[in-house]
């Protein structure tokens, strides 16, 4: 291990924040390097000194003022980004949004339904018209059959296919 690597790991080594294998390597280096050992001892002493000092003379504020600012359990308000908002607001907002989007949708669908009904009625009427037309054509076709020239020829005795 190089001195630089050892030095940069000394604080973590003192704080017990290096892996076991790294700790062994650092310890071996310290055993062999007086310069790094001196750095280790001075950092270790400073850390111990910091640790032995009492905490700053500062007490936590009493809980009362904090408690008075806490939202109560079952409160009609909740915290939203630092603002107290009534609990019904999200449900109300959702209902408003649904209403806002559903009315145009209903209007749209009802007008489409009317249009479809008109189209269906037109389709039925067209179909009926075509059916009537078909019947008319069919009846005319029957008339054509009745006036079949072969039949007429046969009736008149001028049938060109006759083997007479």
């Amino acid at each position: 291990m190089e001195c630089r690597t050892c030095f940069e790991s000394l604080t973590a080594f003192i704080d017990g924040e290096v892996a076991r294998s790294d700790a062994d390597a650092i310890q071996q280096h310290l055993d062999a390097c007086p310069g790094c050992l001196e750095q280790y001892e001075s950092l270790h002493y400073a850390t111990r000194l910091l640790d032995s000092l009492p905490e700053p003379y500062l007490a936590a504020p009493s809980f009362g003022p904090i408690e008075s600012r806490l939202p109560r359990a079952g409160s009609r308000f909740f915290d939203w980004g630092g603002f107290l908002v009534p609990r019904w607001v999200p449900a109300g907002a959702l209902a408003t949004l649904l209403l806002f989007f559903s009315v145009p949708f209903y209007w749209t669908t009802s007008s489409e339904r009317d249009e479809m009904e008109r189209m269906f009625t037109a389709f039925v009427e067209e179909r009926e018209r075509l059916e009537q037309e078909h019947l008319r054509v069919a009846s005319e076709s029957r008339r054509v059959v009745i006036s079949n020239p072969f039949t007429q020829v046969s009736q008149s005795g001028d049938n060109p296919f006759s083997l007479r």
Partner: protein, 212 residues
């Protein structure tokens, strides 16, 4: 076992992780009494952390109140109850940043009249762990606070959390939102800078630089 690791261990024993998890779960259900118990444990830590970051006692008290009120209101957003500590410190840190955005905190003297009265009382109530700490603690606190104030912001935060609050590097990296390697490097640089200040002070005033 070093003194600081013993202290770290004893501090952790004051509230077990399982108990803290239960308390946090209760707070999520709206239990104010559970929140009061959490405050009893973390209130002092947070006010000291903010004080170290801002250097102002009234600001520290105000921001501590804000921090706990926000923590209560936002506790539902905490997904892993075991991360409560780093989550709480992060709220405190964000409050400090918000308050001092673009401004340099003004560090007041620790040894003002009110602080000195409390200091005297605490000296009577708390036996010092070593003779040199007993002799120097008041002045040394001042030197350390000054050294902390002179640290760049990113070093100041990790120094306070590691050297004074004894948080793990993993927790500090979560609070600072930086990689473990970057946090490790910053902690080392901050510790060396503060050590040099202490060494200089002890050498100039007490001829004790040979201790380092």
């Amino acid at each position: 076992m070093t003194a600081q690791s013993e202290r770290k261990r004893s501090a952790q024993n004051r509230i077990s992780p399982e108990r803290l998890e239960r308390l946090v779960a209760s707070v999520k259900d709206g239990d104010v009494e559970a929140f009061r118990q959490i405050y009893d444990f973390y209130g002092g830590k947070i006010v000291q952390y903010i004080y170290r970051m801002t250097g102002s006692r009234p600001e520290a008290e105000d921001l501590t109140q804000d921090t706990f009120v926000q923590a209560y209101r936002k506790i539902g957003s905490l997904k892993d109850n075991r991360k409560f500590q780093s989550w709480l410190y992060r709220i405190a840190q964000n409050n400090v940043y918000q308050k001092y955005r673009g401004k340099q905190p003004h560090f007041e003297s620790i040894n003002d009249e009110e602080g000195q009265e409390l200091a005297d009382f605490q000296k009577l109530a708390t036996p010092m762990k070593s003779p040199e700490a007993g002799v120097l603690s008041g002045e040394l606190q001042e030197v350390i606070q000054k050294a902390i104030a002179e640290l760049p912001e990113k070093y100041r935060k990790v120094f306070v959390l590691s050297a004074l609050h004894r948080l793990s590097y993993q927790e500090i990296s979560e609070i600072a939102d930086r990689s473990l390697a970057a946090v490790k490097s910053d902690i080392h640089r901050a510790r060396v800078a503060v050590r040099d200040k202490i060494k200089e002070y002890l050498g100039e005033n007490y001829g004790m630089s040979n201790l380092f």
